[in-house]
């Protein structure tokens, strides 16, 4: 008798296989990709529901349990983020981690507790399945660390040459307590400007990988989920007005956005801005200004000046805020300029990022 197994589907070759157009066609190959790559990875992020493992239904959408006992007055926050970083893997991280951290951090900057993520993959024909598995695993690890579940997704495949391996887009849902009201429009004259740690690492890590630059002490991306640090900061009771993660455009651009939105000026102290020597050295070499380089695990906080010491103490007790510093103050300025006292002893403006010196870094 022939050993026919009527329901047999030959498993994907996750070691040697590559993405082809059928994986995005919506047929059996698409289904198989979800079952063999995404489900096993993302199942590690799914929460228990009433004591039972929760499983998605394979439907067009996911029905989610409401967060347990959210009191009246809590609000939902929704954020989304797209990622086109090249290369997909870089020192200190990869596109999967970045896609999770990007959206988690966007939610965290609103003071929200992130709950659920969705993810869309736009894959290029020819992407090694091993790379996709690595990305999915890395997303799951990042989601678990941040305490969020990846609950639904989509996959499309584009022809070879029309993508760059993989583009990822994530959306995230979270909740925020009634007394937390953070916004880029809430900066007040006199506020202290706090930075959670040294800057420029992500932008340089990606650039150095892309350009094949080697440094004595390797520069690795700072990509990290900031929701834990934010909860620590909120629990101090410090009067926080603005939180912002200085990603593309760097610290300089983020502060200009806030100054414009709140109708204030700012004065920074260059000597107070934390910077790793390796980052400073690489910037000197390449003619880059670290204040315009992307960060993926740092935040800027604007708070009432009387609360800054309390806030800094709490931040420094958290691993992601160990090198937090107060770097400046919010001032009255009809032009909404961000100025900086240079370490050299003069003063200059710090403008928005012009152009795009480092494309495709997140």
């Amino acid at each position: 008798m022939s050993p026919i197994k009527p329901g047999y589907v030959r498993p994907l070759d996750l070691k040697q296989g590559r993405i082809d157009l059928t994986h995005g066609a919506g047929g059996r190959a698409s289904h198989q990709l979800v079952q063999e790559v995404f489900h096993p990875a993302f199942a590690r992020t799914w929460p228990l529901h009433h004591g039972q493992p929760w499983r998605p239904g394979g439907d067009d959408g996911t029905v989610l349990p409401m967060p347990d006992h959210l009191p009246v007055g809590h609000r939902l926050v929704l954020a989304t983020d797209a990622h086109v970083v090249s290369p997909l893997f870089f020192p200190g991280g990869d596109i999967g981690q970045l896609a999770v951290h990007g959206t988690v951090n966007d939610l965290a900057m609103m003071g929200a507790t992130p709950l659920h993520l969705t993810v869309s993959f736009i894959l290029e024909e020819g992407l090694p399945l091993a790379d996709l598995v690595r990305i999915a695993q890395s997303m799951a690890d990042a989601a678990r660390e941040a305490g969020v579940a990846i609950v639904t997704g989509d996959t499309k495949v584009v022809e070879r040459g029309k993508g760059d391996g993989a583009y990822l887009s994530t959306a995230g849902l979270g909740w925020v307590a009634p007394d937390v009201r953070l916004s880029g429009t809430h900066a007040q004259v006199g506020d202290a400007i706090v930075l959670s740690g040294p800057i420029g690492e992500h932008g340089l890590a990606v650039l150095s990988q892309r350009e094949g630059l080697q440094f004595d002490s390797p520069i690795v991306s700072d990509t990290a989920p900031l929701n834990g640090l934010v909860q620590t900061m909120l629990s101090t009771g410090a009067r926080l007005h603005v939180l912002r993660d200085p990603t593309r455009g760097g610290v300089a651009t983020s502060l200009n956005e806030i100054a414009a939105a709140s109708g204030v000026g700012m004065v920074l102290d260059e000597a107070a801005i934390p910077l790793q020597p390796a980052v400073q050295g690489a910037c000197e070499l390449m003619g880059l200004d670290p204040l315009y380089l992307a960060n993926e695990g740092k935040l800027l906080a604007l708070c009432h000046p009387d609360d800054v010491e309390t806030l800094l103490a709490a931040m420094r007790a958290h691993p992601l805020g160990a090198q937090a510093r107060c770097i400046g103050t919010v001032t009255e300025d009809p032009h909404h300029f961000v100025q900086m006292r240079t370490a050299f002893g003069g003063c200059r403006m710090l403008d928005w990022l012009m152009g795009d010196p480092l494309p495709r870094i997140c």
């Binding site: 400073q280 100025q339 050299f344 002893g345 003069g346 200059r348 403006m349 403008d351 152009g355």
Partner: protein, 388 residues
């Protein structure tokens, strides 16, 4: 950071600022031109201007390779880039320089021209090797500092028999531009020159002697670090006070009297002087630029593609010309910060970070606008005068 922080030490800066304040004589001004865009950038970026006594005025010179490239040369590059089969390789800054017909290289690229950003001429050579079926043209710009690498690349192309590589040469010469500024009848009254840093590593200090002797101008060659600049300015003040006009070298850690003779020999082997060359803001200057020698003619894009050098006037309200000659400041321009911004530059001085307008826009806009330079000895042509 080692080897950098030493040249940015705030304590030393305060010390030098005090020495400068003590050195300047009350009741007189000291007008110094920093020729080089790198110095313009450093003055603004480190806030050096705040540490200078009010008697010292810094006047920005034309030493920004992107800024002095006239529209006609950019038009030539665009025309070339739009030809089928051509890949134009250029430094990033040059892509945004506005040219005729509301085009720039970056806009031509969006319309389909194959323009690639390269960080060094080596990248352009690599493109030529990778695309043997395409014509790869390197848009070579810059003063004496960037010329030797172009010469090396041309020799490599010759050696390898790279038949699809050529250079659109816009290499220009610092001393010629200095002469042009000082020979203009309405030139700014100057008390001294801050000589270029990197250019001087190649050409040495000797070519500046003529400015000290013929124009009786003190010249101090300075490094690009902020303490270098303050020290050089102090040396200039001392020369002025003592009535001396000499070439002094502050940047001794890199610049010698003879310069880099190997690089000079290399440049001499590959390039020869042009009879004249058009500069933005300075018109045509005799013997101010280089072209490829006949032995390298097949690598000369102008000859290879039969390109014509046409002169195209600047935007009538753009003050890039007088700004490059040191006669005007960026804030004197009606377009500055309104029509012309780094995001949407009208003139070349707003394009490169070494341009006077871009540096002032990015770093110095918070300063209260000072009165118009009033630095010209005779009237500026009326069409360039700011409105009352």
């Amino acid at each position: 950071m080692k080897y950098v922080s030493e040249f940015r030490d705030p304590t030393l800066a305060r010390h030098l600022a005090q020495k400068l304040a003590d050195a300047v004589q009350p009741g007189r001004t000291y007008r110094f031109m920093e020729f080089c865009g790198g110095h313009t950038h450093a003055l603004a970026r480190y806030g050096v201007l705040d540490l200078l006594p009010p008697q010292v005025q810094m006047i920005h010179g034309p030493g920004c390779p992107v800024c002095v490239l006239p529209i006609g040369r950019i038009d030539m590059a665009i025309e070339l880039a739009q030809r089928p089969g051509v890949i134009l390789a250029s430094y990033g800054d040059t892509l945004r320089v506005p040219a005729s017909r509301q085009l720039s290289l970056i806009r031509a690229r969006a319309q389909g021209a194959d323009v690639r950003i390269v960080y060094a001429v080596d990248d352009a050579l690599a493109l030529a090797r990778a695309h043997p079926d395409r014509e790869v043209v390197f848009l070579a710009i810059g003063f004496e500092t960037t010329t030797p690498p172009t010469a090396v690349a041309l020799q490599a192309a010759e050696r390898e028999g790279l038949h699809n590589f050529s250079v659109l040469c816009n290499h220009v010469l610092t001393p010629a531009a200095m002469h042009a500024i000082l020979d203009q009848p309405e030139h700014v009254p100057l008390d001294g020159l801050v000589g270029p840093a990197h250019v001087s590593t190649i050409i040495g200090t000797q070519p500046y002697e003529v400015f000290a002797s013929r124009y009786h101008l003190p010249v101090v060659i300075a490094g690009f670090e902020p303490l270098d600049m303050m020290q050089a300015i102090l040396m200039l003040v001392q020369q002025v006070n003592e009535g001396r006009a000499e070439v002094e070298n502050e940047f001794t850690r890199a610049v010698t009297p003879q310069g880099n003779t190997r690089a000079q020999a290399l440049v001499h082997e590959v390039f020869e002087l042009r009879d004249d060359f058009a500069w933005r803001g300075l018109d045509r200057i005799p013997h101010s630029a280089l072209r490829l020698r006949p032995a390298y003619a097949r690598f000369d894009a102008e000859q290879r593609f039969g390109l014509q050098d046409r002169s195209v006037p600047d935007h009538p309200q753009c003050l890039c010309g007088p700004i490059l000659r040191g006669q005007r400041q960026p804030v004197d321009c009606k377009l500055f910060g309104t029509v012309c911004t780094p995001d949407n530059p009208m003139g070349a001085c707003m394009v490169s970070s070494e341009g006077a307008c871009a540096a002032h826009y990015a770093y110095g806009r918070h300063r209260a606008p000072t009165a118009t330079t009033a630095a010209t000895t005779s009237a500026v042509p009326t069409e360039l005068s700011p409105s009352p």
